[in-house]
């Protein structure tokens, strides 16, 4: 038996205790590490879910706040015809009626073009065409109006009256006044009617 073997034999109990302790320590360490890893994973997952919920909540609260502060205005616009199905027939009838009431010469001509989809300036990311099937795009209806033998003041009064009476929201896009005569001018104006359909189906008429 070599000297080294003799030393090891005399120390075997102590070495066995050391080995056992080391093994036990290692086993405890790895078990603990596994538990900690599991806990950390679970914690990360729970925190991630919570963060997602909080983000959703913030967005929903912002939506609710928007509804609370703007819904009355929205209802007013809906009443006025900016939202829902476009009443194209009514717009034309109202135009004729306003012309008759203004007692202007019977020179009114009009042309209501087929609607087309538009993207509003500064439109919300989900609004308009970009929203695809979830939301109908805003429609633009162009109404060309022509009048002869009309003075500037009469034209302005006629358009103001029409704006008050028509169940729709439009802006005066352009007006060309020409051919001055003693009886008045020729006026060719274009009105942009805007309409936000409530369902995508009603917007399917986009040319």
């Amino acid at each position: 038996m070599s000297d080294l073997t003799s030393i090891l034999r005399q120390s075997k109990t102590a070495l066995a205790v050391l080995g056992g302790t080391a093994l036990l320590g290692l086993a405890s360490y790895f078990a603990l590490a596994a538990f900690l890893q599991k806990d950390q994973t679970e914690l990360a997952s729970v925190q991630s879910e919570k963060a997602a919920s909080e983000t959703d909540l913030t967005a929903k609260q912002a939506e609710l706040a928007m509804f609370k502060s703007n819904f009355s205005r929205f209802e007013a616009l809906q009443q006025k015809g900016l939202v829902g199905v476009a009443k194209r027939d009514d717009w034309v009838e109202d135009l004729v009626r306003a012309h008759q009431r203004a007692k202007l010469p019977l020179t009114l001509g009009y042309d209501l073009l087929a609607p087309r989809a538009v993207v509003a300036a500064n439109a919300a990311p989900n609004a308009g065409v970009a929203s695809g099937a979830t939301m109908a795009p805003v429609e633009l209806h162009e109404l060309d109006v022509s009048l002869d033998s009309i003075h500037e003041v009469e034209l302005v009064q006629f358009l103001n009256r029409y704006q008050d009476e028509v169940r729709g929201r439009y802006r005066l896009q352009s007006c060309v006044l020409s051919s001055p005569r003693n009886s008045g001018l020729s006026a060719n104006c274009r009105l942009y009617f805007f309409n936000q359909p409530l369902t995508p189906a009603s917007a399917a008429r986009t040319p």
Binding site: T21, D39, S53, R73, V83, A123, Q173, S174
Partner: protein, 495 residues
């Protein structure tokens, strides 16, 4: 308790330190025994070694030890003294070897010993170790008297050269004669130069006669360092014992004799490591358990919060669902109202301003083209930028530093009164232009007054332009910027 077995010419003696005092004992206590020999058979030699490293070096030294001291297992090398460079520290070229050739006597002593042997050190080796003290001269005689003998050792450059044991046969004078004889021997063998001056001698004894006798022989007696004197009261062998207890280099016993001691050291180390491992494991486990508890508490707390958030979310969703339209439609509607309708300029207002600018009843508008400047194009009909009534899609307003509502582009043509002289026409047109540019936000793009001022002027006898042939119309075109969007209040607007 540690014990020393002191092997001397007159036998083996056990010593043990108790209460700071070394006391002779009959037998060692439990525990290992450090063996210190003080025998005549202690041999010193110095060898030259090639610059070898590691195992090659140790194998070379082993071979040298076996060849120089073949009859004894008690042999070793001493630590190199005062290396001058890193290389000399790692692999010194000179190496002192030490052996204890009284093999049988040492074997007998160790065989009788009923305790573990920590190791065997020689007095020569221990003195060589003590002689490396930096406060001492590098060339030094060490003289250590014992009751019947005296050890004489010489170190040159702190390296042991010779170690002799002489019998004390005639008192101090005889002993000093042995020192002188040793000096002469070193001079004869050219280890020392003759007439090299007074040699330093350190006498490890309180014997005043011996010190006086040495001083009389042209030798300089020096004092032992204070640290040595602290270790011993009157006998300097205790300083050697103290040094031996630290297990310095120069241990001579083979491993076979030390297995018990080394095994006990291994056991101590193993148990110590086991305890340290257990403590570390317990610490790590405790820390881990605390961490797990904290994580669990955080998980529970986060889950509770998430549950509350989910409840709140459900309530908010329910409140939103009560509205008949989606938020996207609401936003889009408000956006259209604000950006496309309320932001549009009023033709009525702008025509009023225009009429104020013209401000001359003799002038008549022959043509007026008013349009919302969206998409932005040139207001002048002659420009190729496009007609105001373009069918292009309504695009977002051009990016500006200050967001503004929609602007307008206007072009108009005035019929000028007939018969006006050129200067009067110019004055009239300049007046209109000046009044136009005073309208806020208006940018004039075509000014007939400027066109006329840079046009060719013809007159005199060469060619006369009649008043009737002068142009009868003048055209302006300009744009009016929209109002800043923050000035547009949708809620106050008329639906």
């Amino acid at each position: 308790m540690k014990s020393i077995l002191h092997l001397t010419v007159d036998g083996a003696h056990f010593w043990r330190k108790a209460s700071g005092q070394w006391l002779p004992v009959e037998a060692p206590d439990k525990g290992a025994v450090w063996v210190v020999s003080d025998l005549a058979e202690e041999s010193l030699t110095e060898i030259q070694i090639p610059r070898l490293f590691g195992r090659d070096r140790s194998n070379y030294i082993d071979r040298q030890l076996k060849s120089r001291f073949p009859d004894t297992p008690y042999k070793s090398m001493l630590a190199a003294a005062a290396p001058t460079s890193l290389l000399d520290r790692i692999a010194p070229r000179r190496q002192s070897l030490l052996a204890l050739e009284a093999k049988d006597r040492v074997n007998d002593a160790l065989d009788e010993l009923k305790a573990d042997v920590a190791g065997v050190w020689t007095t020569s080796g221990l003195l060589a170790q003590l002689g490396t003290e930096k406060s001492l001269p590098s060339d030094l005689f060490l003289v250590m008297p014992s009751p019947q003998t005296m050890r004489i050792m010489f170190l040159k450059d702190r390296v042991p050269i010779i170690s002799r044991m002489v019998r004390d046969s005639g008192g101090a004078v005889a002993l000093v004669a042995e020192v002188v004889r040793t000096l002469r021997h070193l001079e004869n063998t050219k280890v020392l130069e003759r007439n090299g001056g007074r040699r330093s001698v350190l006498v490890l004894s309180q014997d005043g006669d011996l010190v006086e006798a040495i001083g009389a022989e042209q030798l300089t007696v020096i004092e032992a360092p204070r640290s040595w004197r602290k270790m011993t009261s009157d006998d300097f062998k205790f300083a050697l014992f103290e040094l031996a207890m630290k297990s310095p280099p120069g241990q001579l016993a083979p491993l076979m004799r030390r297995t018990g001691f080394i095994a006990s050291r291994v056991r101590t180390a193993a148990y110590g490591l086991s305890a340290a491992t257990a403590c570390a494991s317990i610490g790590i486990l405790a820390n881990g358990v605390v961490q797990i508890q904290q994580d669990q508490a955080m998980i529970t707390s986060t889950k509770d919060t998430a549950k509350q958030v989910a409840l709140e979310l459900a309530g908010t969703s329910k409140a939103i669902a009560a509205y008949p339209v989606s938020v996207d439609i609401l936003k889009s509607t408000l956006q259209i109202e604000k950006d496309e309708i309320l932001a549009a300029p009023s033709m009525d207002t702008q025509l009023r301003r225009l009429s104020v600018a013209i401000a001359d009843p003799s002038l008549r508008i022959s043509r007026l083209d008013w349009a919302v400047n969206s998409p932005p194009t040139s207001p002048c009909p002659s420009d190729a930028a496009g007609a105001p009534n373009s069918d292009a899609a309504v695009a977002p307003a051009a990016a500006e530093t200050v967001p503004r509502g929609l602007g307008s582009r206007i072009s108009f043509e005035l019929t000028l009164p007939a018969g006006l002289e050129t200067k009067a026409r110019m004055t009239l047109m300049e007046g209109v232009s000046q009044r136009l540019v005073s309208i806020p936000g208006l940018t004039l793009q075509q000014d007939p007054a400027k066109v006329v001022s840079v046009a060719s002027l013809t007159g005199g006898v060469r060619k006369t332009v009649s008043v009737d042939q002068a142009p009868t119309t003048a055209a302006w075109c300009f744009i009016i910027a929209g109002k800043p969007t923050n000035a547009l209040d949708a809620n106050k607007a008329k639906p």
